[in-house]
């Protein structure tokens, strides 16, 4: 009865962006915890596979010890810094390329097949090529994530700009709005609002790709590098704790952009 009451209250929460974010949070937690428990019991049922599997308590203690370790925070900060740098560069470049492409329909139509081809290549497969061009240091990691995220985002922006040009272009062209008004008051807000869902994908891609890139050579700091170091040292509870941290980063970003997307959707109707 009590459980039913709690569920009823949760399902009747007001549908504000935060209410929806709460729904997502609860939903994801249920899926995550449920999936983890099933996996855990499955693995534990076959002891031969569970030699290196630490207990959940060990992982939680490792998380606690990580939280108390100042080095961990600098590791996290360097990953966060790389992600933010790549994300900012992606948003800026994607907006400029996307709006220019969207505003010129013929160029967009010509580039679309090549764009689709590039999008179909898994980002990590081009990492060796990028290492070849930019080396194995920080630069290569940021460029890899930036390159693929920009590819995705600029295409999303171009589609949004194209639809804005079709929907609003004829009227504002007839009225003869000034060029700054057209770009800053019409096109840019439309594109920002309509490309939030793409931006959410871009953020996920950036987070995943950055942590994967950090696992490769040349990573002195960063969560990805730390995961590899713990794996090599066979400290599995700490390894799982770091993987959970990577998950939290992605989850946090996703939740933030989900709230932004909800607000954007409401304001663009």
């Amino acid at each position: 009865m009590v459980l039913r009451k709690i569920v009823t209250i949760l399902f009747n929460l007001p549908r504000s962006p935060f209410g929806r974010a709460l729904d997502i949070m609860i939903g994801l937690l249920v899926i995550f915890v449920g999936y983890s428990l099933i996996s855990w019991f499955t693995v534990k049922a076959k002891p031969s596979y569970a030699v290196f599997l630490p207990s959940g308590i060990d992982v939680i203690f490792s998380l606690k010890s990580l939280a108390l370790d100042p080095d961990f925070w600098s590791t996290l900060a360097s990953t966060f810094f790389r992600i933010m740098l790549s994300l900012c560069a992606t948003i800026l470049t994607g907006l400029i390329i996307g709006i220019l492409l969207g505003a010129h329909g013929q160029i967009f139509a010509r580039l679309r097949p090549a764009w689709d081809f590039l999008r179909s290549i898994p980002p990590s497969t081009l990492f060796p090529l990028i290492v070849l061009f930019f080396g194995i240091e920080n630069q290569a990691k940021i460029i890899t994530t930036f390159y693929f995220a920009t590819l995705l985002y600029s295409f999303g922006v171009a589609e949004a700009a194209r639809s804005a040009a079709c929907n609003f272009g004829p009227f504002f062209r007839l009225v003869g709005v000034t060029r700054p008004d057209w770009y800053l008051r019409v096109l840019l807000p439309v594109v920002l609002l309509k490309s939030v869902s793409t931006l959410k994908l871009v953020v996920s891609l950036t987070v995943i790709l950055m942590i994967v890139c950090e696992m490769f050579l040349g990573a002195v700091t960063g969560v990805g590098g730390a995961i590899m170091a713990e794996a090599e040292a066979l400290r599995y509870s700490k390894l799982l704790a770091l993987i959970a941290v990577a998950g939290f980063i992605g989850y946090g970003f996703n939740l933030l952009f989900q709230i932004i997307e909800d607000i954007a959707r409401r304001r663009s109707q």
């Binding site: 929907n167 609003f168 004829p170 009227f171 504002f172 062209r173 007839l174 009225v175 003869g176 709005v177 000034t178 008004d181 008051r185 019409v186 807000p189 439309v190 609002l193 409401r266 304001r267 663009s268 109707q269």
Partner: protein
């Protein structure tokens, strides 16, 4: 007096081909010709599928007629040319995240600016309240009202309105028709307007001439309107027999 002529339609015919079935081929307007002077207010009336949208697309030069030609006196439908088109829909040009005042500021800087508010005491309190809210907070009817208010403050010369009052409730639609549309056209007698509507009373009140698109034969019947806004007749007192006459013309 060539400069008085705003629009010439000559032998206008538009054919829609059907690749799948030649039986579905339709020919609209059957060589329709007309000459309009500046200040003409034309209503377009017809059942669904009678060619109203096709006619508007031809008038706004979005499509070319299969035969004949359409000649506007000036390039009204080029950038800042003085033509405006309000296509079917609630208020297609309003940006949901901007307030009415922000739209007004943007339109003020446009080629058809500066913006001169066009309003009467009957509408002023309602419109003032709309101008401060972001568009996404307005209902469909409020958006349409705001869009019309914004448009009537601009220096356009030719206006094409496709069901401009469709989302507005009866009383307010009448108020807008009388105190915004009719007042504006009285004060700017050279503005040319084409208005599509399914509301026959609105068209009779506002338009000098009604082009009725007949579903039989897809032709345009031009019906002169003796009961329009300058005849002194009130919107609620339009003669039933004239409304009936227009309805039979549509069939």
């Amino acid at each position: 007096m060539m400069s008085d002529i705003c629009l010439k339609l000559a032998d206008l015919t538009h054919r829609y081909d059907s690749r799948d079935s030649p039986a579905d081929e339709r020919i609209f307007f059957n060589g329709f010709s007309a000459t309009l002077r500046y200040g003409a207010v034309i209503g377009i009336l017809g059942l669904n599928g009678s060619g109203k949208s096709t006619l508007l697309n031809l008038l706004t030069l979005k499509i070319k007629p299969t035969y004949g030609h359409i000649r506007w006196n000036r390039a009204f439908f080029s950038k800042g040319g003085g033509g405006i088109i309000i296509e079917q829909g609630i208020a297609p040009f309003l940006l949901p995240w901007l307030t009415g005042n922000m739209h007004r500021a943007m339109l003020d800087r446009s080629d058809l600016g500066p913006y001169i508010p066009e309003c009467t005491d009957e509408l002023l309190p309602f419109l003032t309240s709309l101008m401060h809210k972001p568009v996404f907070k307005l209902s469909g009817g409020e958006r349409q009202t705001l869009a019309l208010y914004l448009l009537f403050g601009l220096k356009w010369q030719v206006g094409i309105f496709d069901e401009p009052l469709s989302a507005i409730d009866g009383n307010r639609a009448r108020t807008i028709l009388v105190h915004l549309f009719a007042k504006h056209l009285r004060e700017h007698p050279t503005k040319t307007v084409f208005m599509v509507s399914h509301r026959i009373d609105h068209l009779i009140y506002l338009c000098d001439e009604i082009w009725v698109l007949s579903s039989i034969g897809d032709i345009i019947n031009v019906v002169p309107n003796p009961y329009h806004r300058t005849s002194g007749i009130l919107l609620g007192e339009l003669p039933e027999e004239f409304i009936g006459h227009l309805q039979t013309q549509m069939l």
